[in-house]
Symmetry: C2
């Protein structure tokens, strides 16, 4: 049998990411990861330092928010820029399953194992919210609506509908975007 530590580490880390992305926080455990990677779980402890080490690596690499941070670099001088930013950010969130699962995870626990990951994740989100801090009440309304977007996005994994809103149709998300846009306009009049 050939031995290749680098390849093994890669297999483990990728299995961890895939598992988290597809099955969510509750499904990622040492046994499941080792099984998916087709490797002895001892190696997870030896090479990563267990679950905590894997999460730390995810935090450092920051694979999840990198596409959202690309948005953040834009200039947000005008009201239209802000609206575009919100629209692009929410769409990105809906496409990025990994980010969704990390956000879901934050609703479930916060302990020594997860702390590093969440700390980093929050720091990155903070950068994105640093923009809308002129008008305080707009800032709060904006935060609420983005929070709602996150909520409905997470909800859509297991629920096709929220009350009358069809969470599986693009039209619904477009309506949410329009609502955000209109609210921004009203606050800026």
């Amino acid at each position: 049998m050939k031995k290749d530590r680098a390849a093994t580490e890669e297999k483990i880390y990728e299995s961890f990411l895939t598992l988290l992305e597809e099955k969510g926080p509750q499904a990622v455990g040492i046994n499941a990861i080792a099984k998916k990677a087709g490797v002895s779980k001892e190696l997870i402890y030896r090479y990563f330092g267990g679950m905590q080490g894997l999460l730390l690596q995810l935090a450092k690499k920051g694979d999840f928010f990198k596409s959202m941070l690309a948005l953040h670099d834009k200039d947000l001088a005008t009201v239209e820029d802000l609206k575009e930013f919100a629209k692009a950010g929410t769409q990105e969130l809906r496409e990025n399953k990994l980010t969704q699962e990390i956000l879901r995870w934050q609703l479930l626990e916060n302990n020594e194992v997860t702390r590093d990951l969440f700390k980093y994740s929050n720091k990155e989100i903070g950068k994105m919210f640093a923009i809308s801090n002129k008008d305080s009440s707009l800032n709060h309304a904006f935060q609420l609506m983005i929070g709602g977007y996150v909520y409905f996005t997470l909800l859509s994994k297991f629920n096709k509908k929220f009350i009358t809103t069809d969470l599986s149709s693009q039209e619904s998300w477009d309506n949410f975007d329009k609502a955000i846009g209109k609210t921004i306009d009203l606050f800026n009049k």
Copy 2:
């Protein structure tokens, strides 16, 4: 040893509620409930039909939303009524831990065991949202903001802060309320 089925059922059901309220969805299992109730787990299957039966009973009794539904009966003729309604509803949500855990649960799974509970829960929430359906874009903005409120409420269990917002201070929640109020005003101008 004395035997009293009614009292035993009560002990089981109460233990289940308390466990869910205090430790969340992940902590409620047959073993944990039986242990907390100080009773053999066989009785949970015999009297309730297992976990699914317990959730069904919770759905039927609907202990969680009853205080929110009291709000729903109000007349919502004026804009001020709608603002008051939103404020009272969000405050009630923050105080009702049981409702919070059921909403959290909906973000985690949706299977044969939980289906009945969630179906009922969604029906009740739907009643509360039936009010703001005049202006479509206000309706969506309203839904987003309430969704954000839910999100931040659930988040506050494990996170003291969201970016710069202190989720443990009453002032933050007041600011959110003000933001909702101002948004409603702007849409009605």
